[in-house]
């Protein structure tokens, strides 16, 4: 039976944290832990979720959780898994929660190494599209055109010039046991992917889009709306990779307007119509590749 709000574990494992109101990342962590249960051992590198959860003596995880080095989420997961297994403990799930910077920039070699060893771990990247914890600096998962403190909008350059790194297909290219993309706007899909991943042996990677009201310049109650709209306008997609195959889980019948999505966020306020056309064209190109290479469910 697939997981829904009614069948989900009622216990809370991530509570009393100091994340901003309307934080998407904290919702991703909360829901993933409800799926995995109290035998999840969480590893968090530097980033929003460790900063908001471990402020001694305010400790907001109800399960075992620890902070790793920024670059070492995946290697600490490897150690946690091997260490517990060596002690004869088998009923646990080593799970990492790293942000987009901790995954795609700073932690990518540790993650690559873990996938190469096929360690039995679950790595969840909550992607809020910049280093939000330190005050909104660009990461390699910041999309084209987004204004951050290191890609400011000026007269000549209007925000970030580079496209978003394709972490999902990078992990898949390792021949990983299971990889998936998700969005906190589609929690049923996310919950079931976390559950499915927890039952697969080997390295699992889930990339979940988690809007950040503070960094995106949106109202606190719009977090879920944006997490839905980013999928509906085609700038993000829900997919899986396993057994050497890409599967598209959800295809909007018709994309909503990219411009509407972008114009509502202050990080994209400076974009010209030409910039928005660039975003639209890169989306269409991406979807051409998806249509060609992904099995559409």
């Amino acid at each position: 039976m697939s997981l829904t709000g009614k069948t989900l574990n009622e216990e809370e494992f991530f509570y009393g944290h100091k994340a901003c109101a309307g934080c998407g990342g904290s919702l991703a962590v909360r829901i993933a832990l409800k799926v995995l249960g109290e035998r999840a051992v969480a590893v968090l590198p530097a980033g929003c979720m460790s900063a908001v959860a471990f402020n001694f003596p305010q400790l907001c995880f109800g399960n075992n959780a620890m902070i790793s080095t920024f670059a070492g989420t995946a290697s600490m997961l490897t150690g946690v898994e091997a260490g517990l297994r060596a002690q004869g403990i088998n009923d646990f799930q080593a799970v990492g929660f790293a942000g987009d910077g901790g995954t795609a920039d700073i932690g990518i070699q540790a993650l690559s190494g873990a996938i190469d060893r096929n360690d039995n771990i679950l790595y969840i990247c909550y992607d809020n599209e910049a280093y939000m914890n330190t005050g909104i600096q660009k990461s390699s998962l910041t999309p084209f055109g987004a204004k951050t403190t290191t890609t400011p909008a000026g007269e000549n350059i209007r925000g970030n010039l580079r496209p978003k790194k394709n972490m999902f297909e990078i992990t898949a290219a390792h021949g990983i046991a299971y990889a998936a993309t998700a969005s906190i706007g589609f929690l049923n899909d996310f919950m079931n992917k976390v559950e499915k991943a927890s039952k697969i042996k080997g390295t699992k990677y889930i990339h979940v889009i988690a809007p950040c009201p503070t960094g995106w310049g949106t109202a606190t109650d719009e977090t879920i709306d944006f997490a839905k709209e980013i999928v509906d306008c085609g700038l993000w997609y829900l997919a899986e990779y396993e057994n050497d195959e890409f599967i598209l889980n959800y295809k909007p019948t018709e994309f909503t307007d990219v411009e509407t999505y972008l114009r509502k966020q202050s990080r994209f306020a400076q974009l010209t119509d030409e910039d928005i056309q660039v975003v639209r064209e890169s989306r269409d190109k991406k979807w051409e590749r998806i249509q060609k290479n992904y099995k559409v469910k």
Partner: protein, 96 residues
């Protein structure tokens, strides 16, 4: 285990650990002071669909007798629950 508020705030040197591990789910402060507006649930309109419970980033909405209840100690007033409610059962009211 759900983290919960403790009476004891470790303050003296002997109460503070000399290593980096401590009890899980140890809360000493509330988040209620962050709020300008508060969600108020109209239980007559609530049908128990649990969308507010599911999408709350802080997990402050729990199931209770086929409906929901809200923990105002930890609600930050983001308003996501009101947006998720399709039955107009949640209103945001100004904190006084």
């Amino acid at each position: 285990m759900k983290p919960y508020l403790r009476d004891k705030v470790p303050t003296t040197l002997s109460e503070i650990p000399d290593h980096t591990a401590y009890e899980a789910g140890y809360l000493v402060t509330k988040n209620a002071g962050w709020r300008n507006i508060r969600p108020v649930i109209n239980l007559e309109k609530c049908v128990g669909c649990l969308q507010c419970y599911l999408y709350c980033p802080d997990g402050v909405i729990s199931k209770e007798e086929n409906k929901v209840r809200l923990d105002y100690d930890f609600c930050k007033g983001c308003g996501i629950c009101k947006k998720m409610c399709h039955f107009d059962a949640i209103q945001m009211e100004v904190e006084k």
